[in-house]
């Protein structure tokens, strides 16, 4: 049984190849961007608003609220990154109800790519906000001897982020596939529903963890500043 979409090659031209993961990701991107464009081209600030605008406003404001709750900072700079993480993962997972659909998040390559993005985003946001020195200083906190552990922690949490999402989605897909061979009727449907729930929760967890990592970088800096002042 082959459920790794990376191995489904759709187009091959020399070294350039398009596998199912990339293709489905593009479809999802098209869906998200196209849907957003369709809704946001007719936005209105007064009078009755469309259902699509209402949905998007609820979605964006909810993400904003979550980011502000976790980071205790204005959500503005983090919204595109964290929001896209959540929406992309959630849509990828929710579309698994479509028969024959293989979510790109069930590919370790995709989850790794997302985790790497977070891994890069954490120092990027921190440096953009507080500068390089402040960012690097937190690796030697509380003492210099903690440097290796901090580095290991940084890498391992990125790895965990990737593997957690991959493991959950991939396992859900595999379970449904296995159940289809054992109990072909009804029971796989329940598992599909559970898979939807799991997919949504994983998207939420991924987004929240990413935000926590980003926020913790600047939070540490904030605490240090406060101690220095004292």
């Amino acid at each position: 049984m082959n459920i790794n979409p990376d191995e489904i090659i759709l187009l091959q031209a020399g070294w350039f190849q398009i596998n199912a993961t990339i293709f489905v990701t593009w479809l999802i991107m098209l869906l998200l961007v196209g849907g957003s464009w369709l809704v946001t081209r007719k936005l209105t600030s007064e009078g009755p608003i469309s259902r699509g605008q209402n949905l998007l406003e609820v979605l964006v404001s909810s993400i904003n609220h979550q980011i502000e709750e976790v980071s205790r900072q204005p959500a503005g700079p983090y919204l595109p990154f964290i929001g896209t993480l959540f929406i992309f993962i959630a849509v990828s997972n929710l579309l698994s109800v479509v028969p024959g659909y293989v979510p790109p998040t069930s590919s370790l390559s995709t989850t790794t790519a997302l985790a790497i993005s977070v891994f890069i985003a954490v120092p990027a946001f921190s440096i953009a906000k507080d500068g390089v020195r402040h960012y690097l200083r937190q690796y030697v906190k509380p003492t210099f001897f903690m440097l290796p552990f901090n580095i290991i922690g940084e890498v391992s949490r990125t790895l965990a982020l990737a593997v957690r999402l991959y493991g959950n989605i991939m396992s859900g897909t595999i379970i449904v596939a296995i159940l289809l061979t054992i109990v072909p009727l009804f029971f796989p449907v329940i598992m599909q529903v559970l898979g939807l729930l799991t997919g949504l929760i994983q998207a939420y967890i991924f987004g929240i963890l990413a935000m926590v990592y980003i926020a913790s970088a600047s939070k540490t800096h904030k605490k240090t500043e406060e101690k220095g002042e004292q």
Binding site: N4, N19, I22, V33, A113, S117
Partner: protein, 263 residues
Amino acid sequence: MIINWYTVMFQVINFLVLVFLLRRFLYGPIVNMMEEREEIIYKREEVAAAKKEKAELEAHNYRQKVELLQARDQKMLEEARADAEKERMSLLESTRLEVDETHKRWHKAMQREQETFLHDLRNRVGRQATLIAKQCLRDLADATLEEMVWHVFQQKVEQLPPAEQTRLQNAFTQEESIILRSALEPAPERLQELTTYLHAFFSQPVQVMYENSPELICGLELEVGGYRVAWHVEGYLKDVEKQILGNLSTTSKEEVMDVQAES
């Protein structure tokens, strides 16, 4: 290997592109729109708060005006009541005066009417009494009575006071004829007797002229140059009438006083 680094690279790029596109087509417009709406709502709230404040102020002013109007109404009502009461009392007083006046007028008219009636009654009673007496004497008048009248008359003439006698004599000097009036024609011997007496009285011859006078009931009247000597029942009857009328007048006054006291 389970991780395809080629795909990883593609997916990182895809993700970054997606972040850019969603920022362009989703977060930017939606966030801007929400901020714009918040701004609009905030402005509306400000306008509403200003309007509310203005409305409260106006409501306060109107309440004050209403209270003022109510107080004025109350005052006007009280004044109107006082005026009405005053007018009522005035009308009552004028009506009372009018009634009193009418009552007095009516009373005076009634009194006048009563007096007129009593006066008429008095006159009628007096006259009737006199007429009855006249009728009685007229019915009783006969020769014997005539003689008695003559006798009484002669006595009256003879018993005239000296002053009257002088005046009578003086009057006779101016006039030569003496007029004798009577209801009944006297007998010739009586007339002669009188002439003789008068002759003696005046100390000169006299001529007595007789005139019939029916109104002299049982009486005689001698007129000498404007001076009269008479005796007849008419005089008595007039005295009687006078007396009756006097009595009736006293009685009627008492009655009027009784009526006034009762009213």
